[in-house]
Symmetry: C2
Subunit: 332 residues, 2 copies
């Protein structure tokens, strides 16, 4: 079964995806990352993955063979299926549609034991450019409206394999959290005639207490109302609605500030698990003046997530001014 | 610092609460439950807690001394403070107000090593009646608009003490997730002239594939679009907007079905961590015809929560029809 189902009260779409073949016994504890000896993402085991969609390779190396520095492959256990049509339909009072979408894995490096923050800035820049390239390609598939790019680092953050990788999901619907963010930004714009994120950037640049770091193109801050301790946002300093319009020079600046922020988090929180999520505009978004793409980084700490998940209330014991101070002074 | 801060884009209020005194070192790993030897909720250590607000006691025992079977106390490390006024104000482009609210702990039993599902039904009924009593009392404080009652069981679900307890938070604002649910129910009602939850109950009672159990007053189901494997809802079978209007006879039925569902989850998922949350109407809610109070139980599994938290996408590998079947046939 691979289907989108809509909660009849909240309107939230959930993906029911049994392809991963999990049964009750699989939920007792977190999946353990596989050791290098069994890792399907390591060089020499390309035959264990689906064929690559995109790769950076040394000259004269064959596709799906060693010699790559970065590979993008369809997820072998996809949450969505790439073929077919949505076929939206009723199920009594409920609504459902087929689970059509793309689910890809970006293998960030051939080195099993490195983490994203160990890579040089030009390599991280190539990962970001791979994201951009995949978004631009998926925009040609007219069934899709949104691409979500995310990285789960560490078991507590949802990673099931330890080899450094990120993921991409392209969907025919705009996720509820994304549309809430777009609506909020549009409401602000229609009232103020200004982008809310640009206003945030201006106030933070003046105030400085929540600024972690900046370079020519980007600003890293602890946001004013963080959901968890050390939540961090990276925003382009000038207005830009689409991540995929980032130019090569800016992409290197983005790689540099992302690396620097991850190193700061590693020092202050001693290599925490984390999620990275690119908040981007949907394809063909009609209000690019109102929305400002950015990256959100959420370090994970079990009890905080537990509280929020259970109650819908975010209670954060670390003021962002204090988090920013810790991160600013961290020796990296 | 104890303050509500509003995210300027999404409009979500976050509580920044430093009273718990956590510093970066406290976030490296989950808090370990204290052993019985140090547990402040055990009988004989009443002096370690704040004075009790409510208790069930044997005749001729003094308040804040042994002899109780259930106690309600203010949380010693509250996320909110009970005194003061909201004082809503601007912080540049941002919005904030004082962190006024009530945060109480319901110590469910004097027995440190039991869990909620080990208690007899009449004792669970008394816990539910304590919730009801606290809601009715807090309604007299006109600063408050909502009471959230929840239980975090197990470290992975956010519990920091292993002694069986649940919690209550009364707030001057309606949490975003609650208002989304109310809006969704009101939109359905204004279109159909029927409560969406009553429609769900009717369809589930006819269809049976997602029904786990029922008794004279309540129905337990796997919801149509569950966010996580084995998410379970318990709903009153007839329309009722307010949990606190539940009568004593119905409360015993609620205790019975809640116990039975928890035992089923324990069998199928081998004693999982879980969150229980009572979804209730706000005080003085103006559309009681549209909303139907209910209980949501979310068993926790790390990677699922990680995925959702990071991406805003719920991907669930267990169809609710399959979960309901596992739970129905569990031997309890």
């Amino acid at each position: 079964m691979l289907e989108f189902r809509r909660d009849p009260v909240i309107g939230r779409w959930v993906i029911i995806s049994t392809e991963r073949g999990l049964r009750p016994n699989d939920f007792h504890s977190a999946t353990l990352p596989r050791s290098e000896a069994l890792c399907p993402f390591c060089p020499g085991r390309e035959h264990l993955t689906t064929p690559e969609i995109y790769a950076l390779r040394q000259p004269n190396t064959a596709a799906n063979a060693p010699g790559w520095t970065l590979r993008v492959i369809p997820n072998k256990f996809p949450a969505l299926q790439i073929e077919g049509h949505l076929r939206q339909r009723a199920d009594g009072i409920y609504d459902k549609m087929n689970g059509v979408g793309a689910h890809e894995v970006i293998v960030e490096t051939p080195e099993h034991f490195l983490t994203l923050s160990d890579l040089p800035d030009h390599h991280v820049c190539e990962i970001l450019m791979a994201y951009r390239s995949r978004i631009l390609d998926l925009q040609n598939d007219h069934r899709f409206r949104y691409v979500m790019i995310f990285k789960n680092h560490g078991i507590a953050a949802g990673a099931s394999l330890s080899h450094p990788h990120s993921q991409l999901i392209a969907t025919p619907i705009i996720p509820k959290r994304v549309s809430e963010e777009l609506s909020g930004a549009q409401a602000y714009y229609s009232y103020k005639d200004r982008c809310v994120f640009c206003d945030v950037i201006n106030q933070e640049m003046d105030d400085r207490t929540r600024v972690i770091e900046q370079n020519d193109s980007f600003l890293a801050i602890s946001p004013y109302a963080p959901r968890c301790p050390f939540e961090t946002w990276i925003l382009p300093r000038t207005h830009q609605a689409f991540f995929e319009q980032t130019r090569n020079g800016e992409m290197l600046h983005l790689a540099q500030i992302l690396l620097s922020v991850l190193k700061r988090l590693n020092v202050v929180l001693e290599n925490p698990p984390y999620n990275i999520l690119i908040h981007n505009s949907p394809f063909d978004y009609k209000h690019p003046e109102a929305y400002h793409w950015h990256i959100e980084i959420m370090p994970r700490s079990t009890w905080i997530a537990g509280f929020e998940w259970g109650t819908g209330f975010y209670i954060n014991p670390t003021p962002p001014e204090e988090a920013a101070e810790f991160l600013r002074i961290a020796r990296i």
